[in-house]
């Protein structure tokens, strides 16, 4: 039962954090409505403008949510709370699991909000496509979950806010959240090697009833592995665990 209670309180804390809610939900939603309103009948990157931006903003908000969800560990470290919690019977894996669950709950909320806004702006997809889109986005977030936990262990409490904002913005921009990347050239190559690119790409493939192309998977696995291993190393260094 203890794990359930802990996760419940972690969820409570996540959704009470006004900054999380503003950056993960309010900003992406407002930007989506502002950008899509006048352009709702346009096409962009081979799909309807509303669909493209709905997925882009959902990806951005969800990315911010999972980055912040892990990076908040930096604040708990600075405050000594992680030390305090380590002398309770709470298992380390439950501590991290609760952070991941909290992050994903906020990310999922961002997706659902943007879906509703997207539907209001004329996005129509078969039920199967909505589901496929959601699954792809949740999978595509995994590297960012690992990155968030990494940042939570290497950054100071003061640096966390700006770092998350900057990193999310960079991944968003280079991944095509703000508009399609050129079909060839350096930006195209960089984009395809980033996990954020495949978040955005999820919109296109789910509409057509497909999944990511095979080349997407090594990118996601590689980023997850790198961030994950660095996060584990940072955790060990931080706690002195062998």
């Amino acid at each position: 039962m203890s794990s359930v209670t802990y996760v419940r309180f972690e969820l409570l804390r996540t959704f009470r954090n006004r900054r999380f809610v503003i950056f993960s939900l309010a900003f992406p939603l407002a930007l989506f409505l502002l950008a899509t309103g006048p352009n709702r009948n346009q096409q962009i990157g081979g799909v309807a403008f509303a669909l493209y931006f709905m997925v882009g903003m959902a990806a951005w908000g969800a990315m911010a949510a999972v980055l912040a969800g892990g990076a908040v560990i930096a604040l708990e470290r600075a405050g000594g709370w992680t030390r305090q919690i380590r002398i309770t019977p709470l298992r380390t894996r439950v501590y991290f699991a609760s952070k991941v669950i909290g992050s994903y709950a906020l990310a999922l909320t961002a997706l659902v909000l943007l879906y509703i806004a997207g539907a209001a702006m004329g996005v129509r997809l078969p039920v199967g496509s909505w589901l496929r889109l959601t699954i792809l986005l949740l999978i595509g977030l995994v590297p960012f979950v690992a990155l968030g936990i990494l940042l939570g262990h290497v950054l100071s409490a003061d640096a966390v806010g700006p770092a998350i904002g900057g990193i999310a913005a960079a991944f968003a921009l280079l991944g095509g959240v703000w508009g399609p990347l050129p079909a060839t050239g350096v930006l195209h190559v960089i984009g395809q090697s980033l996990p954020s690119y495949w978040l955005v790409y999820a919109g296109r493939v789910s509409q057509g009833g497909g999944w990511w192309p095979v080349r997407a998977w090594p990118v996601l696995v590689a980023w997850t592995a790198v961030f994950g291993l660095l996060a584990v190393a940072a955790y060990r260094r931080d706690t002195g665990a062998a």
Partner: protein
Amino acid sequence: MTANADEITLAGVSKSYGHIRAVRDVDLTIGAGQTVAILGPNGAGKTTTIDMILGLNRPDAGSVAVFGVSPEDAVRAGMVGGVLQTGSLPAYLSVRELLELVASLYPDPLPVGAVLAAAGLAELAGRPTRALSGGQSQRVRFALALIANARLLVLDEPTTGLDAGSRHQFWDAMRGSARRGTTVLFATHYLEEADAFADRVVLMAQGRIVADGPATEIRARVRTSTIRATLPQVEADSLGLLPGVVSAERHGDSVELVCDDSDAVLRALLSRYPAMRDIEVRRAALEDVFLELTRDDAAEAAGVAGPVPGGAR
């Protein structure tokens, strides 16, 4: 590892950070139900020692056992509760929610309502942790330590930031826990606190235990007392010749005698000088002992040969 299920045992424990030897070859056994103060200046190794007992740190050498098992296992089994030096409580929870959260982690917690009352937090139960003053936050930490209802309670500088009233309340609650058989281990800078609340004082300096025993015994390590009295027209020099007097000084009408046997000196003075008045006898405070012992240790560290006084047990 000699693992006694009723004891906390440190055997030959050392820990270094780089070339800084934070803890050097410490032996310490704490029996169940004892209230033990670890006293020492900053950098003495108090927090490092406590961290090793809590499993937050592993010793480079030696072994630590908590109630017969490793510190990690003791923590996992919910045998350990504590208050560490922390800057802030987790945000976005009320005081009650935070207590419920921590209570949920332990196998046999105290009721939240009772702990709120014991810590004087009943009025603040619904308040967000962010909206607490420093003293209030410290009371919440104290409530967090209580609610665990653990066999070992570890407190790192628990009353820093508490006012005198809350400090009393805190120690009353701790005594209650100790009576129920909880082992209480606390690090402190407040010498009078160690003196008043601990069965046993472990004095650390530069990573070593330099003295270990009841506060009274530790005080007795420096046998001197000071007698002050109003006694005009008697030469300080002649007072200095009395058996038991180490040194004598005159300040106007009053004299100040540092004695190694104040009882004998006092008897002699009263029979010889019946006019003596305003008599005041002061035992060496723990603070004096503390200064003296840590000074010895500094001298020893500087290369003066000699055994470390005290040692474990």
